[in-house]
């Protein structure tokens, strides 16, 4: 019973955060909505018995990624809103297409799912650590290499050309 109430609260918070992102007048407000959405999803991960992933969600998404978005918003100085939409049909076409996408996702997802199966519980952190360093060792190393490549790419992209500096 408590779990259902908590799920309802955090699900509503996640949806409210997501709507806040797309309705936000400027990018700073959208970043705050994104923070609400990420935190609510982290709480849902705890409800789903995945505490390690929840912690990673709080640190990586709610911490690092939102801060990086805010940093870029401040750096570009784009606190003003976007200009008037030039094609009005775009908005309605977008909403209609997204609704069709929702129906498609539900249709194909529900075919894969046996409904009304109760959720199981158990200690997952120990199991996760064991799996991470045995079966998934190669993907783990590749993720590390990918992050290194990302860092190098950022330095290359953000660096000014030599003639611009002089």
């Amino acid at each position: 019973m408590l779990e259902t109430v908590l799920f309802a609260c955090f699900a509503l918070a996640a949806i409210a955060g997501a709507v806040w992102v797309i309705l936000g007048k400027n990018a700073t407000w959208s970043a705050l909505g994104l923070l609400v959405n990420f935190c609510a999803l982290g709480a849902l991960y705890i409800l789903l018995n995945a505490p390690y992933v929840a912690l990673t969600q709080f640190i990586v998404y709610a911490g690092a990624i939102v801060v990086m978005f805010l940093f870029v918003v401040m750096l570009l100085g784009v606190e003003r809103g976007e200009g008037q939409d030039r094609r009005y049909f775009q908005r309605y076409a977008g909403i209609g297409l997204a609704f069709l996408l929702f129906l498609g996702v539900l249709y194909f997802g529900l075919q894969a799912l046996v409904p009304d199966a109760p959720l199981k519980s158990g200690d997952t952190v120990r199991l996760l650590a064991g799996t991470l360093f045995t079966g998934y060792l190669l993907p783990l190393e590749m993720a590390g290499v990918l992050l290194l490549i990302g860092m190098i790419a950022v330095v290359v992209l953000a660096k000014k050309k030599r003639e611009e500096v002089q």
Partner: protein, 100 residues
């Protein structure tokens, strides 16, 4: 009784809201945030399935998705900054130079 069906429907709703944001908003930073929300919605369904199947493979996938998403955000925001230096606008409708 709470089942994985609820989590799955919530994940679909969040994914759809993210898709609406990408299609409707014209501010490139907000569009990028909406892509992140769609990634998170997919992560939620992976975790829900992981618990439903009583296996940690879904959680492993989510951890790897987070690493890829972090790299993606870093490179994407660097591209946005480089693009802004080239042409000071954040409206994607103004970026139409490849139209020929």
């Amino acid at each position: 009784m709470l089942t994985s069906l609820h989590y799955f429907i919530l994940s679909g709703i969040l994914f759809t809201i993210g898709a609406v944001g990408v299609l409707v908003r014209r501010n490139e930073i907000v569009m990028f945030m909406c892509v992140e929300m769609m990634l998170n919605a997919a992560n939620l369904s992976l975790i829900a399935f992981s618990r439903y199947l009583n296996s940690v493979d879904g959680q492993m996938l989510v951890l790897l998705v987070m690493a890829v998403a972090a790299a993606e955000v870093v490179v994407g925001l660097a591209i946005l900054v480089a693009l802004y230096r080239l042409r000071p606008t954040v409206d994607v409708d103004d970026m139409n130079e490849l139209k020929g």
